[in-house]
Amino acid sequence: MADDIRIDCDQVSLETPGTGASAPTGQIPASSVPASNEVHPFAINAQAQVAKPDPASQVADAENAAPPLPGTLNLDQKDAIEGGGADPISEAPPSTTTTPPIVTPLKPASWGVVEPVGPWCPDGLETELGFEPNYQNEIKYTTEIDDQWRLAAASKRGRMHAHHGTFREDALSTIHTNSFSFLCVCDGAGSSKLSRIGSEFTAQFLCKLVKEELLSHEGEIMKCSRASLPGNLRAILHLCLDTVARKLVDLSVTAQMLPKDFRCTILTVLHYHHPTGGIFLFGNVGDGFIAVKRRGQSAERIGTSDSGAFSGEVTCFMPDPQVSEFYKTSLEENPPIPEDEVDSYILCTDGVEDPFFPIHRTIDKIYGQLTEGYKEPIADVTYPEGQEPSSIIHAASPGDELLKWLSYEKRGENDDRTIVFTYRKSLAEPPIVTPAMVEMTPEEASPALDTTALPPVVKSWAVFCSPQVIFAMIVGGLVIANAFLIGALLGFTIGSHSTPLAIPNGCNSPIGP
């Protein structure tokens, strides 16, 4: 069985602990940079040091106390010992005070916000990428996919990366043509040195390759049967992922690093508009999740997350050797869904999955927040007062509102966060309301008849002619009139010859295939 612990002897041994994790060149240790005014609810007090007890006073106290046991040292004196420092007992001057030391309770540190320092990509590698990377701390956009569908996307650098001045490691890419949409969300592995490049490369290159392949095979795909469509599409997606994995390994060689230094997870959704009907296909490797809201049903998670017994134990990443098999299996095991069953769907990295865990219990409430706005916390996830998000689908700028939705707070949840939310535009349209359906007050609905201006004769009639009475008289009259009409018709038909009505062909069968 492999070792659980790896002691990284490649790291420079830190001389001054307290500067955060090992700091690659170009990164500013968090403790040396003034923190921003960002306030965190769990640790809002300024950093403070324990007031060191005065060794001199401690020596005096020791002299006044009972003599120490043989072979032991006075505990108070020894508390003042610093690692590597001189023995304060032998060097401390005699004290004349007897004041006990004042010990200030330790106050927890607060989170800072530091801009990333240094290049996003090592020298010479950026030209090998073949695309313009998006490495801003935050991403937000809205896409009008077509006349039916709209997409909102947002990605936010997590508090951990913000505190240490490192780059966001989540990535996303979405592409649309007249015949399909393809969405890809990736999350760089925390312990991989260049996972931010791995995730961005995978998301962008996979989208580019899928677009090329689907367009080049569009004629054949459009002609294939409904039964063979999912398999054909899966084969193309699988082939594209294999190619991306190989390219990422090549990139690692160019960078003179290892493939594991570029590790990331993958979530993909393909929405294909086919003559036999639109279809969704889903693929995933690693953690994070995809969820679908079918019309008239509760939201459901697609597939399962790979996260192990303890938090964060993913077993396979891009571009590990087994990623091809993992992705292929996920495409096959996640059943395709017909387009007309779907109202909306989301892709999220584990920066969303973990705070709202367990997703199978919270996904409906998450959808509620996305469609109706924040009302109450889900799974202890809250927002700073006054920053609660409104409905995404009704927002003037859904992408902006979705980024606001990502600004939730929960203890221990400091990872990057990414969500792509695609939904039918009809969900955002208000219901059609006629003037008669406008809600009226009871008085407006049944106004009292104003009889003050009416002549006395008419007034007396008005007492009997309130709206309710008039309505009842009209209905009664109609019933009586219909009874006479039906009786007349029956009398006519009994004495005459009648032929059956002709039913057009097919009308007796249910509508639809």
């Binding site: 069985m1 492999a2 070792d3 659980d4 612990i5 790896r6 002691i7 990284d8 790291q11 041994s13 830190l14 602990p17 307290g18 955060g20 994790a21 090992s22 769990f42 640790a43 040091q49 072979g71 032991t72 040292l73 505990l75 020894k78 508390d79 010992i81 610093e82 690692g83 590597g84 330790l106 106050k107 927890p108 540190a109 607060s110 951990m160 240490h164 760089g188 592995a189 925390g190 312990s191 997870t265 953690d287 996260s307 303890f310 938090s311 964060g312 134990e313 993913v314 077993t315 990443f317 584990d350 973990d354 367990p358 199978h360 219990r361 799974a379 203890r411 221990g412 400091n414 990872d415």
Partner: protein
Amino acid sequence: MSFRRLPVYILADCSGSMAGDPIESVKAGISALHSELMGDPSAVESAYLSVISFDSSARQTVPLTELASFNPPSLTASGTTALGAALKLLIDCLQTEVKQNSGEVKGDWKPLVFLLTDGAPTDNWQQYADDLKTKRPGNIIAVACGDGADTALLKSITDTVLEMKSMSPNDFSAFFKWVTQSIKQTSQKCGSSPDAAAGGVALPPPPPGIVIVP
């Protein structure tokens, strides 16, 4: 409120041979560790500390406690070395105090365990060592202090054994600074980690004076 914790257990040998500078250095080291971790917001949010001390018996001197509420314990040294009792107590604590992933609850991070001992155990320890070695309920780092500790014995508990030849205050201080950095580094990992699945955590290199036992 549910959130993921990083449980950290320190198993401190408090037998008679640790009397004097060594036990005082351990106390000072734990205190310094606490103080240093309070300066790291990710450690403040996630690290929970526990101290198990053992001499002629073993006890959980400080139960698993969040950093902001942790009080460094007062330790004294006397008696024999009930390492077996300490390992058994550790196993019990890991079972009762650490949350595992389930379908409904996101579990704690895999615990970090730091075991310091300067001599041979005086009780039955083998079965507990075997249990820990095979089940690996935590990432255990054993530290052999001085010449009296048996590194081969510690290897039967965990693959990761360090040796601190000198037991001077400076060496203990440097060791606890390394422990602090290890906890910080582990608590700062966020998102997916292949190390956790394949093996556990990546720790910084030990300071001078402390060597990795191959």
